[in-house]
Amino acid sequence: MEITETTEGAMGVAVLDGRLDTATAPATEAKLLAMLEKGGVIADLSAVRYVSSAGLRVLLKAAKQAKAAGRGFSVVGLQPAVREVFEISGFDKIIPAFDSRAAAAAG
């Protein structure tokens, strides 16, 4: 998993590239939580073709921390397979998903 940091308006953007699974969850969690210390975060999953429950756990933790701190946390660029995982797990109803970084920053 490679994570590149950039910005979109006032939001931080974490561009994830790789599988978000048991092996890559710890480093991804550390990165997202560190970015959330500084402000709202958009996780760009366009280059993520696989998210397992260990990955969902990371996103849930980030969403909860963001909520507690009164900051935004959203995802963009869900691949069809990843979208299926979000839907089956009900994550589509608790983590806002947008089509583009611009839409996420505006939302």
Binding site: T22, A23, Y50, S52, S53, L60, K64, I88, K93, I94
Partner: protein, 136 residues
Amino acid sequence: MEPAFHLRLAPSPGNVATLLDALEAYAEASALPPAVAMRLALIAEELAANVAMHATGASFFALSVRPAEGGLELAIEDDGPAFDPLGAAAPDTAAPLETREVGGLGVHFLREMTRAPRYERREGRNRLVCTLPLEA
């Protein structure tokens, strides 16, 4: 019939990644549709990670895949303590963010993505069998 894929490994977190890499290469070699390949990896990861992290004393986990009527038959085995993943409570997938709990998703994926999952304990081994439909 001989399985098309059979991998047995010592149950460490690193070997969960080994299993996923092998499955990804197998899915490519077998030209599985991407959605099916992802579900296969998801189910395998959940169950293998459970053994690697919770099954005290287990010496291996193993996954077999064989073509069957209506899809791929998956069989996951380990020699850890008796544990029926199908006995776990389903998560509340409608809970709001504040009260949403992590955990329990593995068995939920198993129920939602596969057909006829069944568990048995035999000769000191856990064995879970299910059918993964081939439609994308």
